[in-house]
Amino acid sequence: MNLVAALLLALPLAMAAVLGLFGRRLHGKLPGVLAFGMAASCFGLAVAAFLHLRGLPEHARFVEASFWRWMDLGVGDSRLALDVGVYLDPLSVTWTLFITGVGSLIFLYSIAYMEHEEGAWRYFSYLCLFLFSMLILVLGENLVLTFLGWEGVGLCSYLLIGFDYGKEIAARAGRKAFIVNRIGDVGFLIGMFWTWKLFGTLGHGEMKPLMAAAATVPPLLALGYFVGACGKSAQLPLFVWLPDAMAGPTPVSALIHAATMVTAGIYLVLRLSPLFVAADWALDVVAWVGAATALFAGLIALRQRDIKRVLAYSTVSQLGYMFLACGLGAFGAAAFHVITHAFFKALLFLGSGAVIHALHGEQDLWKMGGLKHHLPKTARAMTVGAFALAGIFPFAGFFSKDEILGVAFAQGYAGHTSRYVLWGMGVLTAALTAFYTARMMTLCFGGTSRVDPHLHPHEAPAPMAIALQVLMVLSIVGGVGLGFEALHWMPLHRWIDPVLAAAPHPAHLPAALNWGLMALAMMIAVLAWRIGAKWYGGDFAPARQAELTAPRLAKVLLGRFYVDEIYAALIVRPLRFLAELCLEFDRRVVDGLFRGAGQLSALLATGVRLAQNGVVHVYAFWMLVGAVILLTLALK
């Protein structure tokens, strides 16, 4: 098992190095094919790890493998000894499975997508490095390794968003993602320091019993980690980087900004779930932030014109659901939604990539329409993904989303009345989700064509189509295959729940109520979908008119609640002012000091220079004077 784990990390790193160093000399599809081969082998290794763990008895389902001692710090009692190693348990293996699985499909898709791009080898090298960082993040034996991966995926995200660094907008978006994530990282770091002070260790395996035994921990400690998770997983108020991150290539959006990296925040919360449970009101904060983000991003998505931005806000919104689940203590449900979301959101992003590819880079929904006649396969695949996102039975998203809403309602039913509000927000978000998904699909594929008549859209080439088909199947069976709570069919929960903390307020609904709620959620989703499809399905002109002459609220939505502008006014501009102040201080005072010192010595030098006049006799005279002085001193 050690070898499997070591290979899981070594293969992507080696491939990243090979492609980064020698990729320039590889032509055509070779870099992509090599990278895909690597990713597929990683998936194979992940399956091997999964099978190995499944063969172990439930209470001993973990493998700890240390490769070497990384650092040994501290004196006396406060010691920090860290190994480089991996910690395999159902949680990390689940993540590894879908990271490498969905990752392989996206690598495959990228072969065709990036074929005509300049510097595809650079792209694949970054992608391999990303895979390595992500695997370090989930497999790392201790929190410091997790943090290393955390920063690594941030770096790769930055590099890949700015892949097209010649474009100002891409370079800017990359910087924004990096900087906003730094803010979250401060929280993560504070959490780590505090944890170490509390437990004296940061190893996942060693922390497990300590966390379970801790009756209470300071809520702020857990919230430190949550701030980090907010940054990485684009939650309020740190979500602003994710929509801008769509400037990167579309497969990157699918892999990093939908399926894998943005779920790292959830992973962190799940990994430290006992800590969160013991941290008093911290979980409530998580739940409310999650629900608020879900609703907020769902509202913004209603009016976006860029197809990728719709999906980006929908990702933020769905991540909100996952945090809502975490906050409710339904950690297994959060993991469930992470996985189904990885399937259908990767599918939607890759589908949108196929559309953009077919339209030669057009991303504006208003300039699409009627594409189902040109791209029937893509349309079919994306429709499945859209149904899954909208939470329509029997597609994947329905099961996971319904479980989260069910938990919220059950806790309200059990007496925590405020949970009804969370449930309401979730249901409202579900309706919004169905509506904007229907809007996106109808504007893109339905109605009459508004495509530039010079373009002749064509179906995606084979590798892209294969990836879409596989993800389509996963988006259908991925939900019901992993769990259907109402029928007590919960293989994923049986697998993953033992390593997660138990919910602080377990609650169960009567079966009839459960089925009723499910039907209600389903009805709401279908109704919202129908409205959306009808609204945008007919003649486009009135719909566009309605969006353009919208009342103030809609304008606010189009302006994305002006969050970016508010941040610019409150944070960016004051900081810039401060920076300019410092610059002036530096120029005038600091530089003045140094320049003044230089000028002073130059002035002195001018005086001394007069002595150096080139006349030998004068030198001789001064020598004599010197000799006389020295002699006098010596004879005294």
């Binding site: 220079r609 150096q612 006049n613 080139g614 006349v615 030998v616 006799h617 001789a620 005279f621 004599l624």
Partner: protein, 100 residues
């Protein structure tokens, strides 16, 4: 026997002549000779000292000074020649390239 003080007096006289000559004359060759005069004034002191106090050490020092003076003349005259070739002059004031 000639008293030691006389030698010292003569030496000081010669040294003073050398200094004055070096300071007053502009011809590099004459300046050179002045330097030699100073060196030999110093030698006179060594030899006088050798006679009265430490014969071996004093003589050795004098020999050293003679050797150094010879070497110095070799270098110095070569310099003077080189300067003459360049400037067609042996007057020190004509060579002021090192002025800052």
């Amino acid at each position: 026997m000639v008293p030691q003080a006389w030698y010292f007096l003569l030496s000081a006289l010669l040294f003073g002549l050398g200094v004055a000559g070096f300071a007053a004359r502009r011809n590099t060759l004459v300046m050179f000779m002045s330097v030699e005069l100073m060196l030999n004034a110093a030698n006179l002191v060594f030899i006088a000292g050798a006679r009265d106090y430490l014969p071996a050490r004093g003589s050795a020092c004098a020999l050293f000074v003679i050797a150094v003076a010879a070497a110095e003349v070799a270098v110095g005259l070569a310099l003077v020649l080189a300067i003459f070739r360049l400037k067609k002059s042996v007057v020190a004031d004509d060579v002021r390239e090192l002025r800052a």
